[in-house]
Structure formats: C-alpha cells, structure tokens
Symmetry: C2
C-alpha cells in the first residue's frame, strides 16, 4: 500500500474482503471444523431475478488479490453486467487455514478439507447472504477450475455454465506426482519437524519455488526466454524474483493444506457418485467449456479430452500458448487473455 | 552378488571394472584435478585394424552396472562384433567424484568438471591403453548422449557415428530449470551445511527422488499406470521403491557434481566454437542419429529438431513411447528396446 500522507505507515493494508462465518462445519472426513470462515469479495450488483451471478473461486496459494485482474469491464467477467463473487479457497490464508486456526488443529492435526467441503460452504454462503440458488457461471483456473467442476457435479441444477481453465475433474496421477515433488521439497526444510514448521522454511520455500518453476511454464517458455516479458534480466533473476518469492508470501502449512485438497480433488469421490468418474461427468448439466493450456505440463489437454466423451454439452478449446499452465492466468499475456475472454463470452451468450 | 558357497558373505562385490590413471588433469576451468581416475569396463575384442570400437558413456548417477544391459549379443551394441568401452562419467562414484576425492577438494571446493574435460580424458585413455584413434560409434543416453555429442563436435575426425538417445548438444533452459528444482530439493536437507553434506540427507534423497519421478516419465506413463509393469503395487509403492531409492544409492555430493556437468553441457562452450552452437553443430562429421523419446519432458524432441537444421548428416527418429525420458534406457520396455536397436543397427550399417 502506498502511504497517503506524511506519517510513516506500517504495511498492514485494510482488508478489502468480507467474511462469511460458516460456524461448525462437519467435513467429508467426519471431523468438525469449528468456526470455519470463508473470506470473499464481490464485484458488481446482483440483479432483481438473481440471474447474473458468476462465482470465481481461487487457485493454488492465491488470494482474491492475485486473481481479481480477470474481473474487468469489457472482459468476460464484467462487473457492469454480472454480480461476481470470489470465494477464497480454504487454506489460502484468508479463509480458514492452518495459519489462522488455533491449537490443536495445526500442523499435521489440521483437518483435511476437500473441494466437496469447500463448495458446500460456498453454496451456503450464496444462499444465506443473498438468497442465490442458481449460478450463471462458475469460472475457475487451476484449483479454481476443479472447484467449478465440483459445483457442476455436486449441484447439477444450480449451475448453468462452467469454464474449466487449466483444470480437471480429478487430479491426474502425474499431477499428483508433480505435487509430491513440490511438497517433499518444502518438507525437506530443517524447520519442518513432527508435522509442524517450527521456523520459516527458507530452504523449503526456495526449493519448492524452483521445483514449481519447471512445471508451471512450458519448455517453449524457457527456450524463447519469455521471462524477459516479465522484466527479468536473466533466467536466474526470474527464478529468484518470481519463484523464490511467490510461495514465500504464504504460510508453509497453508501450502501443504491446499496441496492436500488438490491431490484429493475428484468430483466422484463422494456418496453421490461412489468413485464413478464417468457417472459424475454424465450428471453434469452445465454447459461446459474446457480450456486447458495446450502446453500445460500437469493439467494436460489429454485429461480434458478423456473427460469430454462423458460430458453432455461440452467443448474443448485449448489455449494456444507457450505459457503452459500459466496460460490460464494471463496477467501479462494479452493473447491468452483475449482468447479466454472470447471463449467465455461465447459461453455466456449460449 | 549371490554368494557362491556356504560361508556368509558381506555384500562387497569385487569390482568388475578397471581404472585408467589420468594423473594430474588441467580442467577447462583452469583448476588441476590431481590423480584423476577414470573407471571403465570393456566388452568384446578389439579387431586388428581397430575399426570396431563403440564408446558407451554413462548417464546421470549411473554406473556401468546400470547401463550395460544394452550390451548384448544380437543387439546393436553387440560384443561379439564390437569392442565396447563404457567409461564411467566423473562424479558417478567410480570414476573421480567428490565421494572419492580427498580433502580439501570436497563439497563446494570440488572442481567443476565439464563434458569437455570428460571426453578429453576418455580420448587419452583410448589412445594410451589401446592405441585407438577412431570410433565407429559413440552411443549414449541422456548425459551419455551429451557426451556423444561432445565427442563428435570436439573430435570431428575421430568419430564416424553418434547415437544421441534422449540427449542434446546443449542443456536446454527448461532442462536447466528442472535440474534446479531437483538440486534445491536435495540441498534443502538439514544435513547440507556450508556446501557440505554433514550427514546422510534422508529428506533430501526422498525429495529429489519425488521431484525426479514427475520428470523422468511421461504423463501418459502415470495415467496408464505403467509402473505396474515394474512390479509396483501402487503409485506410492512405485515412488518409494523406485524413486526414493535410486539416488540414495549415491553420495549426495556426487549427485550435485554431475548436475553441474549436465547444466553446463554445451558443445560450443570452448575456444573451438566460442559459444556458437550452430557452428559447433555444422562442424560435426559423424553420421548422427537423434533419438529423443517423443514424450520426454526435459530432453524435448523440439530441441533435437532445432539442432537438426545445422547438422550435415543426421536423422531424427523419436522413440514412440509413454516412458518419457526413460524410453532411452529400456530396462523393462521391449518395444522401446527393439526400436532403439533397429535404428542403431541401421546407423552402424551406413
């Protein structure tokens, strides 16, 4: 935050979000999460018949700050037309997370929270705060896309459309392995003991960032030195400034909690579908836009292609981009952004 | 080693290799490696005109034990026809490596050894031990393939053919980043202090193995559960038995030393070519077979394709395989092995 007057300020920005107090939530695991809190931010105005609602859940380690750039007038997520709600995913440090949960539910005792748990709390929030029962669109990137898929599978009549940007209905096995590597790098830190980070994991943050760097972008991104477009002066400069930084903004236990959610993501892992992924996909009524990055290394196009054959009304539109998984979060990629906006606008017009 | 009689034996196998004492070697860096030793193993018989020599350098962290399965009668590397020499790459624990080098040249003081250094010592060995000046073939996988490329670029008149299996003339930027992740995971271990491993890096070995697991095989390998063909009972069983094991067999400082060699691999990084990769590629006279795995995630087909346009007499024959980088080391993949053998036999016949 830029100080607005002459008095030196400590950098504690005013929160620009609100919190839905969900109370005691019985999780899918059987444990009760006490005083569960869902941080959210809204944009635009709910119309009279409540038909203009877009839900835009957050991605791995992201807070609404990091993803709200997609909400803009003239874009697909247009706050002059839609009432857009960003629910912060549990574990991101704003909603309930290890970092803001009291003893003894910390470290390895932190309750496992599934996407199933998350979207159920989101649904309660929409109903209790605004009386919203139906969504025009759930739009999400990465873990946000997995939440969109869960919405469509768990509440088929409540969701008209979903945009699955670089996501999947289930965490693919290779995606699971990629996460295992990133997790193990973080947990190798000397400060991780008995399931708890006893000090700031300096090595672990750095290692996890460097592991992640290879996965989040494509081989082409690095071959063509596209990091130059981000202002980095060398590859090492990019690794340090982008990748040793991004996860170090978060609490390490929060990072592990969200990895757990991600790895266990599966729209069929519930009594409704009993692990039958094809059945869960067939039950989706929402018009579905599958938009993987065509060079994404962990949410692969092929996984969406396999899902497609079970979906009623779906399209597969890979984003042609060297930005790999990051194609779906086009902070500095005008072409990717234009592609996504055009596809989502077309989806909203159907 | 299986005991051959009733007396219980401690598992210290007799070495099945020999050692070339290279003496004091002035490295490309300017440092002198004192008493440098090159461990090697030979197969077959050198013919009278010394025209039947195949050099088969080793890959990352591998010793000749791990790669000699490709040497077999009826295969391309046929010891009944060829005199096959496997030079163990420096840093692999048998040739000079941090683990067998005395104080003070350990830890971060260990001299940087390039492929340029390695192939020069290999060349001296061939000349001094057997009077060999020309090679029918240099065959290599991964770091072995990078050595083959260095042979062809640095000694254009000494090499008739090279088979570059899942390798490249230069470590691609993305490949560099993948290694950064694996390195950082190992070095995050509590036992790594001031550039030295002061204890066995249990967490580091595990983390590096899990990171590597995602890179060495393809997404398809995991989707199709091809680890079942290796006898693993679950994905986790595979990660533990294969990936937490493979690097833990080595000294951690040796692993870092070879990573350094790999990351700095570049056939043009020497006074001969002054960093001009195209020039180095154009200078190669060897018939060149480029054989990437078509789903290799770090030695990508695309890098070989870009090299191809500068090579005089080369073919690009991707291995059609879900085994990713491992396609080029077909321990348990009969199809990959048959493909490689057929291509290399055709190369040898030209």
């Amino acid at each position: 935050m830029t100080p607005h007057h002459g008095i030196p300020q400590i950098a504690t920005p005013m929160p620009d979000h609100q919190v839905f107090e969900a109370g005691d939530v019985v999780l899918q695991s059987g444990r009760t999460f006490r005083n569960m809190r869902l941080a959210y931010k809204t944009f635009g105005t709910l119309n009279a018949d409540k038909s203009n609602v877009i839900l835009y859940p957050t991605s791995y380690s992201a807070q609404h700050h990091d993803t709200q750039h997609m909400v803009s007038e003239g874009g697909a997520l247009d706050p002059s037309k839609y009432f857009i709600v960003i629910p912060n995913l549990f574990g991101n440090g704003l909603s309930s997370s290890p970092s803001n949960t009291p003893w003894p539910d910390v470290g390895s005792r932190y309750p496992d929270v599934t996407y199933f748990d998350a979207v159920h709390v989101q649904r309660r929030m929409l109903a209790e705060l605004w009386g919203i029962e139906k969504l025009a669109l759930v739009y999400g990137w990465s873990m946000g896309a997995m939440q969109a898929y869960h919405w469509a599978a768990l509440f088929p009549d409540a969701v008209a459309r979903i945009a699955v940007v670089c996501g999947a209905a289930r965490c693919a096995p290779h995606n699971h392995v990629f996460i295992e590597g990133a997790k193990a790098a973080l947990m190798a830190d000397p400060g991780y003991r008995d399931g708890v980070f006893t000090e700031r994991p300096v090595r672990g943050f750095r290692a996890m960032g460097r592991v992640y760097a290879g996965w989040a972008l494509s081989q082409t991104f690095y071959r063509d030195e596209l990091w130059r477009t981000l202002g980095a002066s060398s590859l090492e400069d990019y690794l340090v400034t982008a990748w040793e930084t991004t996860f170090a903004r978060r609490d390490p236990a929060d990072l592990l909690a969200q990895f757990w959610t991600w790895q266990h993501g599966d729209i069929s892992a519930n009594p409704l579908y009993g692990g039958d992924l094809a059945k869960a996909l067939r039950s989706i009524k929402a018009r579905t836009l599958l938009m993987p990055g065509d060079q994404d290394l962990y949410f692969q196009v092929e996984d969406n292609r396999l899902e497609l054959q079970h979906l009623r009304e779906a399209e597969l539109k890979p984003i042609p981009s060297a930005w790999g998984h990051r194609a779906g979060n086009p902070v500095n990629q005008p072409d990717d952004r234009a592609f996504i906006d055009a596809q989502v606008k077309a989806l909203l017009a159907r």
